[in-house]
């Protein structure tokens, strides 16, 4: 089969590799009908995530048709059309039982690596480095799905692939990010990043009752989408001072909740952002926490900081003093996708949300190298790329 393989920084190629097989009893093999490139894949493409190996198959947002099932899977059969959550979870451990699916104890074959890095290992993920399992991903014609009996959602006739695909990752990510904000009537939510995740966060914030939604970025097309299609007030960080602007927009109080939908590759021209770049380039820090700092600074006293943006290593010069003295609450982590599968599908079916508006590029899997380039550089107004094998 064909698969998108990672060979190093800025180097992905479509290669012919062996077809996946059932390996464990609870596996299934899925023929991919639609897959996407996620902002998280950008971190791999940019070489920010350690323990990638040349030849690793990328991709963790995908859906398709079941073509094979292991003897331990009794609720799937050939021909089923399914979504597959990006986290791999056993469904039976302490964490899965508490719906903390992305923290599953039993799905990372390389748990020992993650334990050295993080103390304890989170769940394995598709196509996301060997620390997080080393599983082959779904930017391919076929994919092996471990623990498929709990790791799927059957899709009925009706919604299109494009309408439901993002339930595998970025829609629940957006939803969880907003849920973590514990929105009360009258609340203002500020969102850093108008990428695919940011756009869907705007929608979810409206859905969950935010009074005002303010979105921050500097990419014109993305700001336009945030304003015109998602319906947020927007702030261009190239044009205005973000902190002052937010203060002004919130009667001098600050947003009730701040969401970092940018993660470890934040851009900026302020002193601290330049400092981060220099440090990261010189290998003195791993992540660039410019947005995190700004969000901490901006948040109102007693507010909530929700962090769906990915961090992986150590951060430098974090203003924890501001967070402490303003008594902020931090919520973060990889999304517990399984928990949101059905509720979000139902919202889509009821027409409450249609996440497909973010798709700007529809390409063939063979075009993946080009697709990564376009997505990385935000060419041609690129917000979200989907690929069909």
């Amino acid at each position: 089969m064909k698969a998108v393989c990672w060979y190093g920084k800025n180097d992905v190629r479509v290669e012919t590799v062996p077809d996946p097989q059932i390996i464990n009893p609870r596996d299934a093999v899925v023929k991919i009908s639609l897959t996407a490139i996620c902002g998280s894949d950008r971190h791999l493409y940019d070489g920010y995530v350690p323990s990638m190996q040349p030849g690793d198959i990328l991709g963790h947002e995908f859906m398709g048709e079941v073509v094979d099932v292991g003897p331990g899977v009794d609720n799937l059969r050939r021909g089923d059309r399914i979504l597959v959550p990006f986290n791999i979870s056993c469904g039976r451990c302490f964490f899965c039982r508490r719906e903390l699916w992305s923290l599953c104890d039993n799905s990372n074959p390389n748990a020992w690596m993650a334990e050295k890095l993080y103390g304890y290992s989170p769940a394995g993920l598709f196509g996301y480095s060997h620390i997080l399992g080393g599983y082959a991903g779904g930017q391919a014609e076929y994919v092996r799905v471990p623990f498929a009996d709990v790791g799927h959602l059957k899709i009925p006739e009706g919604p299109t692939d494009e309408q439901v695909l993002f339930v595998t990752d970025i829609l629940p990510t957006a939803y969880q990010a907003v849920e973590q904000c514990e929105i009360h009537p009258g609340d203002t939510v500020a969102i850093w990043g108008c990428g695919p995740v940011g756009q869907l966060i705007i929608k979810c914030a409206q859905l969950l009752g935010a009074e005002r939604v303010i979105a921050i970025d500097n990419v014109p097309e993305r700001l336009r989408m945030a304003k015109e299609q998602a319906g947020a007030e927007v702030v261009d960080f190239d044009r205005v001072h973000v902190l002052e602007t937010l203060k002004e927009m919130t009667a001098g109080q600050g947003p009730d909740a701040c969401i970092d939908a940018v993660g470890l590759e934040a851009h900026g021209a302020s002193l601290d952002a330049i400092y981060d770049r220099v440090k990261a380039a010189g290998f003195l820090a791993t992540d660039r926490p410019h947005v995190l700092r700004e969000a901490i600074q901006a948040c109102r006293k007693g507010g909530i900081l929700s962090i769906p943006g990915v961090y992986g290593g150590v951060l430098d010069k974090l203003n924890l003093g501001a967070a402490f003295n303003k008594a902020l609450t931090f919520k973060m982590g990889q999304t517990h996708v399984h928990k949101y599968l059905r509720p979000l599908l139902e919202r889509i079916e009821r027409g409450e949300i249609d996440p497909s508006f973010i798709i700007t590029h529809r390409l063939h899997l063979d075009d993946a190298p080009h697709a990564y380039e376009v997505f990385k550089n935000r060419q041609d107004g690129c917000v979200k790329v989907v690929m069909r094998p």
């Binding site: 190093g8 190996q53 039976r92 074959p109 103390g119 599983y135 290998f283 290593g313």
Partner: protein, 297 residues
């Protein structure tokens, strides 16, 4: 084992992997070069810290006077424990299951090879006896007989090798219900004992150099079987690595000789050292193994 001794490995995380390892090697987090962690290095680092742990907790009492040292004959790591004979490793894990179920599975020793990586088979013999067959490094097997010396249903099982084993060994597993439906704590202690002083070399035959890492992984697999019904793996999956040798980027996969990675002990101990000095990690220089292979374990 402190940050000052940390060496910045050129990682195997791809073309630009040094970023993390370098960033992390400077300070309190100087504990890993994740991109090229060698299990060998890790095992010994754990062993090293275990020495200190044992001697400060008093558990090392029986092990006092070991003067544990680590040598590296011909590139292979062997814990040499001159003049003494005993290594003890402990580990525990919480499993979302009842003591009864876990006890029943473990008590049938023929199940042990399902989660103990180094075992080939355990077969019932006469009475309370069991015949153990273990994989020796470089092919071949090591065999011995052991007997159950104590058992309390749903609580504990203790076994001990019979006289004549290459490496005398014993083990005890305890099962204890955790509160509020949190499952069961499974606690394992293993002891190895070699007459004649070359315990390290003898032990390597049984556990592949890293008794602590071995017991950690074995218990992890036990938990995975009991909870998930299978051990997660990527062995046999697809990857674009056929032509990996042709890529320049393939080079870090194997890596050149470099330092083993300093690692704090997260749990357990191995042996005690009189002064508690953890020398193992610092000296645990070893040729890193193929990361890909490690990752497939």
């Amino acid at each position: 084992m402190d940050g000052s001794g940390a060496v910045v490995p050129r990682g195997a995380a791809g073309r630009d992997p040094g970023r993390w390892t370098a960033a992390l090697s400077g300070g309190a987090l100087a504990l890993y070069g994740v991109s090229r962690i060698s299990l060998n290095g890790m095992g010994l680092a754990v062993l090293g810290s275990g020495l200190a742990y044992g001697s400060t907790t008093g558990r090392g009492r029986r092990l006092r006077g070991l003067g544990a040292r680590v040598a590296r004959p011909a590139g292979k790591l062997v814990a040499r424990l001159p003049g003494k004979r005993r290594v003890m490793v402990r580990h525990s894990v919480a499993i979302n299951s009842s003591p009864e179920t876990l006890y029943r599975y473990w008590r049938d020793f023929t199940n042990l090879p399902r989660f103990m990586d180094h075992l080939v088979s355990v077969q019932p013999g006469e009475g309370n006896r069991w015949h153990w067959v273990d994989k020796a490094p470089g092919g071949g097997t090591v065999e011995w007989d052991a007997e159950i010396v104590k058992e309390e249903p749903n609580e504990l099982i203790a076994w001990r090798s019979l006289p004549g084993a290459d490496v005398a060994n014993s083990g005890i597993v305890r099962f204890k219900a955790l509160p509020a439906g949190r499952g069961t704590e499974v606690h394992v202690t293993l002891e190895y004992d070699a007459p004649g002083g070359q315990l390290g070399a003898a032990l390597a035959k049984l556990t592949g150099d890293e008794p602590q890492q071995q017991v950690t992984e074995d218990l992890r697999h036990f938990k995975q079987i009991m909870e998930a019904g299978e051990i997660p793996t990527t062995k046999g999956q697809s990857a674009g690595r056929r032509d990996v040798g042709l890529h320049k980027v393939a080079e870090p996969l194997v890596g050149d000789a470099g330092p083993g990675v300093d690692m704090p002990a997260s749990h357990g101990e191995s042996t005690g050292s009189p002064d508690g000095s953890a020398t193992a990690g610092a000296q645990a220089a070893t040729a890193p193994r193929d990361v890909a292979r490690e990752a497939q374990r």
